[in-house]
């Protein structure tokens, strides 16, 4: 099953990266969401899968009964899910804001903030006097 999830995760990465490279910023956001899932699946699979117990200690015990699922990747993914949501919210509002100001959803339009030909290197006439 791990191998299947490795393929699934790879497919999600591919879908996400394809979307990240699109001009439309909404597609970019969709790519980010898929990327979060892809990474979480990667961490989850790398911690190995068990269909057994969740990592919970019964009330009458001090250690969980074997076998139990690996708790460490779960803790990592839990954090990651929440952070992904924060990222999604911020990105989405940023894009919305960009749209209200610039009326564009074009990723290539975002370089308007960068001056393109501002470097004064074409000053050929400022040479030494003959």
């Amino acid at each position: 099953m791990e191998l299947i999830l490795a393929v699934v995760s790879g497919c999600l990465f591919a879908a996400s990266f394809y979307l990240l490279m699109r001009r439309n910023l909404l597609r970019f956001v969709i790519g980010i969401i898929i990327l979060g899932n892809a990474v979480n699946l990667l961490i989850f699979t790398m911690g190995r899968l068990t269909r057994a117990q969740p990592p919970v200690i019964p009330y009458d015990a001090k250690i969980p009964p074997e076998p139990y699922a690996n708790p460490l990747p779960q803790a990592l993914i839990l954090t990651a899910i929440v952070i992904s949501f924060g990222l999604l919210a911020f990105t989405l509002v940023l894009i919305y804001r960009n749209y209200t100001v610039g009326r564009t959803m074009d990723a290539d339009g975002l370089d308007q903030a960068e001056p393109n030909e501002s470097l004064d290197v074409y000053e050929d006439e400022k040479r030494l006097p003959a």
Binding site: M21, I30, P55, I81
Partner: protein, 800 residues
């Protein structure tokens, strides 16, 4: 000697104070320092003249075993005397030349700093110290050449000088370090005895090339000769000092100093003779092209530097004698002539020889000094220049090979030099004035005619009575270069030798050129020469410099397109090539042998996740895409649930729901995602994306075959209850074992929330869609839109 060098820097630091206190007399007072140092070094003359050397060490960098050591022999004494002696005259001269200028204090700081650097350079024994002073001369001359820093041409000339001499200095550093590796010492004085070792060493050629790069750039040898004439953009006292006694001689000094170590080989003789000889002839003739006094003099300086290099290349005792003699000859006349040119400029407002004439009545003392130095430059007997020329010819004739070629080159160059000397020395003072002068010329102040007068007198004295210096100073300098003593005897009259006849031929050529100068100077041939060799290399240099920044700009623009997609594409491609390539290169990749146990509903979920992602990619409607996303997200949550992670499943369910709501709310206000990009680009991106995905899958598969280290997980599981009193291990990890991480997570979420809040509450400025406009004009509506409220706000206030 350390104190001598340091005193110059100390006085340099105090110079602005002296100028403020003493005003116009500052030059005379500050001139006492180099004069005193001149006296200090003259005291060494008897001892050094008898072949003694003085070495002085002070602790400096004990960790590197590098003391601050100084070494005084005939060669360094000669240069120390030139630096301080002419320096004294220049300091006094500058006081008159720049009288009344607000910047005199700053000027003296730089000039004296330059003098200190030059003095340190000729005296230093430790090569690290030598290099520091070498670069310090580049740096201070940069400041001095660019002294009129509000003029573009000054800045360009200064930059040119700094880049040319500075990069040469770096090459020199590499050469010196190699040299110290070969010889095992940092002291020049110890290297002098190890010439045989160095010349046999495989590094010899590299050392030679690097040292030559340093010396040729500093001494303005072809093709680096262009920076020196441009350097006349600096104030005239600087030019006078730079050309006569210091900076440019540093290259010659370097070659002379290292000639016992590096000299005598075929490559040394060949390179120095050819480069020096070519520079000599070329720039001597280039000098005839110009009418600006300083520019003529600048080109004749490079001519002399070429001559000195050539003589060092020949390397016989006679040639070295000629080299040291001509060094003194040139220092005396060139310092005087530049000061004269500055005085004329100062009193008449022009340096153009075509406009000048008949000044001998108005400026008799300047005329006398200028004439004496100019005639010395032209090599007219009985001045010292004549002797300099004679010994040069003798040395050329007796060169081991190619003597006649060298003599012919010498005659050709000296003929042009005579003409230049006469143009510079005669035209301003005799004949009729042709241009209308902006000022009424009168005699320059004493501080300004003193220099040419003293130097002219010395040129005459040494010419008539060369015994004043030949046995003492010059002979010991020659011994310093050759590391063996020869008898050096100079005389005006050598008899009817071949050199004498060569001198006669030179006079004929020189006077002929002088009388033809009025027609020769503006001729097409000379203009072509000036364009190709005079301005050409400098223009190539400047074009190269701008080409460099333009290329940098273009490369940056090509890489930094400002398009995020392109950056991602580059990163992903790199991942495929580098990581994927590394995986392919790894021969022993083991993939899992089977897919392991998989139940049908698990496989169905996996297929659903992939299909939903595919649907999100393919969707042309934003809501379809979101729906597909949600299906995928919930499926992942179910997977978590199946594999023992209910906490993850719950979190994923809630976040997925929240995301869906958020997306719908925002997307209502945004346009759709309809519209497609060109098929070729989509295919290209799909290939790259699939490639990276495949790389990830392969990495994961390989990792799956490796044993999993569960120690941390087991520690957390077994201590969860005993240490932290919690039953849910994942929760305990989050709030206890990794509590700080969770706090960081909360902080990130808070910042994101604040960001969202601020972005939503910011006052909305509506701008029209930014069009990528080629004309570079600011979009007018945008300007109007932004500034209109301001205008309204300020308008009424200003109205009454």
């Amino acid at each position: 000697m350390l104190l001598a060098v340091l005193s110059v820097f100390v006085v340099a630091a105090l110079a602005p104070l002296v100028v403020r206190l003493l005003g116009r007399a500052a030059g005379w007072v500050l001139g006492l320092l180099p004069l005193g140092l001149f006296g200090y070094f003259v005291r060494y003359l008897p001892a050094v003249g008898h072949g003694e050397t003085v070495r002085e060490t002070h602790p400096w960098m004990p960790a590197l075993d590098a003391p601050a050591s100084f070494y005084l022999d005939g060669l360094s004494l000669l240069f120390a005397l030139l630096v301080t002696g002419i320096g004294a005259l220049i300091v006094v001269y500058a006081g008159g030349y720049m009288a009344g200028s607000d910047e005199l204090g700053r000027f003296y700081v730089q000039l004296l700093g330059f003098m200190g650097a030059m003095l340190g350079l000729v005296l230093a024994d430790n090569i690290l110290l030598f290099f520091i002073f070498f670069e310090l001369t580049s740096l201070t001359s940069y400041l001095l050449i660019g002294f009129y820093h509000n003029e573009e041409s000054s800045r360009a000339a200064a930059r040119q000088a700094l880049i040319v001499t500075g990069s040469g200095g770096l090459a020199l550093l590499a050469g010196l370090l190699l040299l110290s590796q070969v010889t095992g010492t940092l002291e020049l004085s110890q290297m002098l005895a190890m010439g045989e070792t160095v010349r046999q060493h495989p590094y010899y050629l590299g050392i030679f090339i690097l040292v030559c790069a340093g010396a040729f750039t500093k001494s303005a040898q072809f093709p680096f000769h262009f920076w020196l004439p441009a350097a006349m953009a600096g104030p005239t006292p600087v030019s006078a000092y730079l050309h006569s006694a210091t900076m440019v001689k540093a290259g010659g000094f370097l070659l002379a100093r290292l000639s016992p170590v590096l000299g005598g080989t075929a490559v040394w003789t060949g390179t120095l003779t050819v480069v020096g000889g070519f520079t000599m002839v070329l720039t001597a003739w280039l000098a005839l092209r110009y009418t600006d006094l300083k520019q003529i003099l600048a080109y004749t300086t490079t001519m002399v530097l070429g001559l000195l290099t050539m003589l060092l290349g020949v390397g016989t005792a006679e040639a070295v004698a000629a080299m040291v003699t001509f060094t003194v000859v040139h220092a005396l006349y060139k310092g005087g002539l530049f000061m004269m040119a500055g005085s004329i400029d100062h009193e008449t407002g022009t340096r153009n020889v075509r406009e000048l004439g008949g000044l001998r009545g108005a400026m008799p003392l300047t005329a006398a000094g200028g004439l004496a130095t100019a005639l010395s430059m032209s090599g007219i007997p009985p001045l010292f220049g004549f002797i300099g020329k004679e010994v040069t010819y003798e040395a050329a004739l007796h060169a081991p090979s190619g003597g006649l070629v060298l003599l012919a080159a010498g005659v050709l160059a000296n003929g042009a030099l005579i003409a230049s000397g006469l143009v510079v020395g005669l035209k301003p003072f005799f004949g009729e004035r042709s241009g209308a002068l902006t000022r009424d010329p009168h005699e320059a102040p004493a501080s300004m005619w003193l220099g040419p007068a003293v130097l002219g007198t010395l040129g005459l004295a040494f010419g008539v009575y060369p015994a004043l210096i030949d046995h003492t100073l010059l002979q010991s300098a020659q011994a310093g270069i050759l590391q063996e003593s020869h008898d050096l005897h100079l005389a005006l009259w050598h008899g009817l030798t071949p050199a004498f006849f060569a001198s006669l031929a030179t006079f004929a050529l020189g006077f002929g050129l002088f009388f033809a100068w009025d027609r020769l100077q503006p001729s097409i041939a000379m203009a072509g020469l000036g364009r190709v060799f005079g301005n050409g290399p400098g223009a190539v240099f400047e074009r190269g410099l701008y080409g460099l920044s333009r290329t940098g700009h273009q490369v940056t623009r090509a890489i930094q397109t400002g398009q995020f997609r392109w950056y991602l594409f580059a990163i992903f491609s790199s991942v495929i090539v580098l990581v994927g390539g590394a995986l392919l290169a790894e021969a022993t990749i083991t993939l899992p042998s089977s897919i392991g146990e998989a139940r049908y509903y698990e496989v169905a979920l996996a297929v659903l996740i992939v299909l939903s992602a595919l649907a999100a990619v393919r969707a042309n409607d934003r809501f379809v895409a979101i729906l597909a996303l949600s299906i995928g997200g919930y499926s992942v949550a179910l997977l978590y649930l199946l594999f023992g992670a209910p906490d993850l499943a719950m979190t994923q369910f809630s976040v997925e729901t929240l995301s869906l709501i958020l997306l719908v709310i925002v997307l209502i206000h945004l346009p759709g995602i309809e519209g497609t990009e060109p098929l070729s680009r989509r295919i290209r991106d799909a290939l790259v994306a699939t490639g990276v995905g495949a790389v990830f899958t392969v990495i994961m598969s390989i990792t799956l075959t490796m044993p999993l280290d569960l120690r941390v997980s087991e520690y957390l599981a077994s201590n969860s209850y005993t240490e932290a009193q919690g039953h849910n291990i994942v929760n305990v990890i989050l709030v206890d074992f990794r509590g700080l991480d969770t706090m960081g997570e909360i902080t990130v979420l808070t910042m994101a929330a604040i960001g969202v809040f601020v972005l939503m509450r910011m006052p909305s400025i509506r701008k029209p869609a930014l069009q990528p406009s080629g004309d570079g004009q600011p979009a007018d509506p945008e300007v109007a839109g932004v500034s209109a409220p301001d205008a309204e706000a300020t308008g009424p206030a200003e109205a009454p």
